[in-house]
Symmetry: C2
Subunit: 654 residues, 2 copies
Amino acid sequence: MAEKKKDRNNTIDPAALEVLAKTKDSGIESAYDRYVNMQPQCQYGNAGVCCSICLQGPCRITKKASKGICGATPYTIVARNLLRHALGGTACHSDHGLHITMVMKEIADGHGGDYTVTDSGKLKRVAEKIGVSVDGRSDQEVLKDVVGVAMEDFSRLEKGKYCTWLEKTVIPARMEKNLDCNIAPNSIHKTITESMAQTHMGMDADPVNLVFQSLKTALCDYVGMHIATDLSDILFGTPTPVVSEANMGVLEEKMVNIALHGHNPILSEMVVKAAREMQDEAKAAGAEGIKCMGICCTGNEVLMRQGVPPLTNFLSQELAIMTGAVDAMVVDVQCIMPGVQTVAECFHTKIITTIPNVKIPSSYYVDFDETRALETGREIVRIAIEAFKERDASKVSIPQIKNKVVAGFSLEAFEELLAAVNPDAPYKVITDAIDSGELAGVCLFAGCNNLKVKHDENHSTIAKELAKNNVLIVATGCAAGTYAKLGLLNSDAVEQYAGDGLKAFIKRLDDANKGKLQESLPLIFHMGSCVDNTRAYDLCTEMAKQMEMDIPKVPFVASAPEAMSEKAVSIGSWFVTLGVPVHVGVIPPIPGSPLVVGIALQIAQDVYGGYFMWEEDPMVASKMLLDALGERTWKLRVHKMAAEKYETAISPTW
Amino acid sequence: MAEKKKDRNNTIDPAALEVLAKTKDSGIESAYDRYVNMQPQCQYGNAGVCCSICLQGPCRITKKASKGICGATPYTIVARNLLRHALGGTACHSDHGLHITMVMKEIADGHGGDYTVTDSGKLKRVAEKIGVSVDGRSDQEVLKDVVGVAMEDFSRLEKGKYCTWLEKTVIPARMEKNLDCNIAPNSIHKTITESMAQTHMGMDADPVNLVFQSLKTALCDYVGMHIATDLSDILFGTPTPVVSEANMGVLEEKMVNIALHGHNPILSEMVVKAAREMQDEAKAAGAEGIKCMGICCTGNEVLMRQGVPPLTNFLSQELAIMTGAVDAMVVDVQCIMPGVQTVAECFHTKIITTIPNVKIPSSYYVDFDETRALETGREIVRIAIEAFKERDASKVSIPQIKNKVVAGFSLEAFEELLAAVNPDAPYKVITDAIDSGELAGVCLFAGCNNLKVKHDENHSTIAKELAKNNVLIVATGCAAGTYAKLGLLNSDAVEQYAGDGLKAFIKRLDDANKGKLQESLPLIFHMGSCVDNTRAYDLCTEMAKQMEMDIPKVPFVASAPEAMSEKAVSIGSWFVTLGVPVHVGVIPPIPGSPLVVGIALQIAQDVYGGYFMWEEDPMVASKMLLDALGERTWKLRVHKMAAEKYETAISPTW
């Protein structure tokens, strides 16, 4: 273990390994080096028993000091830190969702500028879902009301009314559970403020109360994310299957390479559009054209809707620059390592920050003004073209590694695949396959990379193991990034890794959709960026509706094999709250409180049906996920047998 | 220094020292013991270069690791932690303000229950200040609109409109400065969410941006606090001079002693009311009656409006229980050491938590339901009466130490004192005294206790030194708690500590108000709880208006000699932003970034006129505060001389 932490080549991505090898003696540092330098990490912090919430601290729990100066016990400290983590993630998604909401408001008010409603069908579906009337009304009228409901979900102050986006998208049993546990949020912003206050010195000392508040906060995360996804689809279109390729081999030696990094499609869609218009400008500068490519979840956004190839995922963002072939890295929000600027300074690469509250010293800052969005996109592309002229060919070294990618599986797109088999009850195609034993269940892979486990290894190993055991797999975020890079998002991987049941299932979908798809279906279905995890939960909800069961009976699990950001904490928490077992591949800073550990791993299941599993070893984790699915399918079989035996109809169990 | 940190008797409060001495070998632990056990504190944390924001961490800056794993430099880490601190404080005050706002909304909607508008005059003044029409309208109509404006200040999502409570209460020049620097908040909740997002992994890396956002967040703190104070005055009355006494000697051996601890008057006012009604129940239980007393800022709230005696301040809250004479400690929000429960378990004392998001395991929880507020107050008093019956007389040991207190100086009450000297321009009484050299200026003492400096010593030493040098002193929070306990809030202290100028000034006020006051005026004017710091800033604003100068020219300084909570960070930050030099008596966790230190101590002055001074030594700190005042009065003299020389009128300089 100690040895592993000293190994700079802490990745299984062959492109990343190639760059790491080539830059070994260059003195150019990346996260892989800094992780080694940071060892050993603080064990108080790892255990979660370090508190720096007041100026009398920092306090840390030791043999000599069993409590903080104020008397806070380890469980209070751990639970309070956990709530602040859930808060950080929720605030990010909320900010993202609000950004899109306010752009939509401009459209509704007739000042959309370069933005317009692209997907009128999705607008209607969303409106109907949240209870906004669509009959005989124009898109603009409907949009105005949809935006109004979203704004209320952000800002409501009154008690007694709850976030519409939660109430209307989960099954009734889940909302009842939220109300029973008093964790249904009135609004996102009010809850965030209340949670932040609750973690202040001398506020809540009760770990159970703090954990429940983390779950309430996490439900706000769900709301903010769902709003972000729904409105992004209305704005830019709901993804449909798309073919592309991924990993550093997508860099083109003779083109202007623009890496789009971050999480929000608001800007990146405009850069992609501008780049497509400006090919001639690039040619005038001596390039063969302009190529956009993605990193992290901005990458996922533009892959899903525009087929833009993913360059790499979170952990290797700096390595992409080290190829010497990235002319500009345009970043918006979240997961942008400050380290990119330092690396860029060793090359001609321009780091372009665009959002007022996300700046990096020494980087270019182009203020992203929504009222002149496309023009801002052009300015950014122009900077990239200028940078291309300064590119030093001697420093360019592109790993020739890339894989075919079939992505674009929004829930709507996925439903269409299923509907080709069973038009009346599309999700019955899945539940029947589980019922017959063809599929072992469904697993979502989500989340980040984290050097505490080998880059991409957990994502890859666990997914392959589950595929072998006939689990239908959907993926988002940097998990999907791994699969894109490593060639798991195409039909070759089906042949190579799927068990017989899964193979037959995918073949059935393929056959039913013959002629409609450009390419055969992949092993893993890419559902979008990490903000799109609600697409996967909506799939779980549709399965529950089909089965007429509450979520804790649905053979659906989730895994964040390389969780890193606070968003992973909030996302994982709402999945658990909404009834899903969640594996996390790194140990969060909680072990310092056995009580909080017990709540997360065990007690949560009694209350919500969902619970956490923490396991770093990918093979052990695979077993845990399969067992969790096995337990649910076993219960279903018992349920069915009992119903047959006693000749009672299976009535909804919520 | 190392020796000092090992001394458990880390206080100058004689009552606290007596309790500490008596409990020396009892095995009962308090913060004084835990502070000693916690030494040495983590130096990474002290410097602010520990980051635990993502699950890849914790990271700490060392010789070997000059950046976090993500590449965050010390300035990013320090600035990000600072912003989270400002956020914690702001969220607390916002939550407090919103609580009161929503109670007022019930009154406006006709469902106030036990709550009603007590101070119709204040309602009108507040309405007029924030632009709500009062002409020919009922209190209820006006209140509805005032509450509406407050709710908007909490929840507004749109750009382009700013918090009314900021815009309408500061002088125009300050609002212009806020707009110029792009730190004027649209609303509290939106800003809190945006700030929390900004501190997420891979968001803002720019320390200057992060510091500006801390200031924007701090301005939300100002807004939340100002709303809380204004609405509390409308609800319970604007404080007027009141006489009481303070320190542990206020405990009565033969009475039911109820300690009211926390920050919010919403509940405590009801407990005080219930206690006054229920004297007979106490007598039936064998007591001579019921006595309420205050701790921390709930104590200040009920002192200011009801004359309830302060029992002690923040740091010695556990020691109060160790007297064996506290029957119930009723707590609401903020600064409640979890340690009180453990101490209470060694006695008969009942700790009663009352707020859903502030619980302590093993304590009594009485859910404070505003719709049956007085009844809840009665339930609480009844628990105290029952506890009295279990009191063990052999464990009772009350330090016979108390001092006379004259408090209740809301800005309105203070203005009335001044108006007795100059009815046309009350604040000219102060500015003239500064002009003539009688007063050296005005200083606010605010904030907490912190064992990093000796309990109460910094508060006391600096105040005495400034009084000797003719500084007019106002105080809030646990600073005011120190002065109450140590006998500085009465007229004897004027004789003992005031310089000749200050003595003459106070005497002039005393003479002019003869017959109106029950007692002569004190050395230090108690303006309320820490949420009431806007009263002091409003005084500064009134001085600015009188002088027709912007705040950076007003001889007004602030000091938090024993700052501890995140609220101190947010309060200090808005004072600086709004033009006031602020001394802080403990070093905040910032030294790890010389850049952020430079911004706080120096650059802030260039931008805002206000700036921080960090100094633990009380004598050095006194000198710094006097120098800051001296610099401003010197500039005023130069300004005046120039005006006279060139025979130009002094026109407003904003």
